[in-house]
Amino acid sequence: MSDLVRILNVFCLLSLLAVGGGSAVLPEMERETVADHKWVTGEQFATIYSLGQMAPGPNMSMVALIGWQAAGTAGLLVALVAFYLPSSFLTYGASYVWDHFRGNPWRTAVQAGMAPVTIGLMLAGVHAVGKTAWINPEHSLRFNTTATLIGLAVTGILFAKRINPALLMLIGGAVGWFLLRGN
């Protein structure tokens, strides 16, 4: 029971703090769910994150799997509702009064000022998942080097070519199966 309340608290807060899209809350989500509440291990978090990126739909539906790991079906439902409902309520209400703020010069200031903070948070998100997926102290140097090279190859390919990221992640899985076994 108390776990459900904690899931509700954590994901409601993340919902209302998810500025600039979902990826900016990754570092906070990783800390809350792995280090603070220990609902998932670092490795599970990285895997759940990558499954969420592969699945269709909004990329933060991964919260469902974290809730599920923490407290079963009830945890899944609470995490989903807590993560999507508060921000949706806010948007629903704000869309009525939005035109009032149209052309307000402060809106541009908020957007311009928030942009680098969001980028910094996303970079911290790369670190939050990368410290397990790329540079995991529990893995061998060879494993980590291979994993990092797979990831950097994906970064490079996406800059060079328009290609569906889900396909690249499947290829990453195939390469991982081939090169990372028994390491």
Binding site: A18, I48, S50, L76, G120, G172, G182
Partner: protein, 183 residues
Amino acid sequence: MNSAPSPREIFLAFARIGVTSFGGGLVAYLRDVLVTDKKWMDEEEFLGALEIGQTLPGLNSVNVAIIAGRKLAGPAGAIAAATGLILPGVILLLILGVLYQRFRHNPDVAAALAGVAAAAVGLLLQVTLKIGAKQFLNPRDLAFIVLTFVLVVFFRASLPAVLFLVAPFAIILCRPRKTTPSP
């Protein structure tokens, strides 16, 4: 817009995106369905909805779904749109989660998942670098990117701390100038 669509039609239209949008990029899918295909919104309305969705907390795609659904059929439309967008991915994630839970200790599966996770980090890095291209090249923005990253990663600053302490400074520095004529 001729006749207002029913919540059921709205649900089905958004569920189509929810099923097919492997690999992300949901805003482009939303635009295709809402503006081009169904003609439920014109280009300007869509951009207006996107602007609200990007400024407010929450995922851009879900926020746009809430605004579009509300405009088409009120609260029922907003609920239909958001659940249509989210539900298919969650069902697939749940299936993947059950499989993961069952097979994660199998060395072949573990190696493949490590490859997928490594690729997902590469994807997030690419998205961050792409979205932030302008900010990385601007010294003041770069300072805020580095400050945010260092605070979160090395000083374990919480997301609320960053948003309430760093973001206001960034916004103040971008504040509207009286001398700038408004367009």
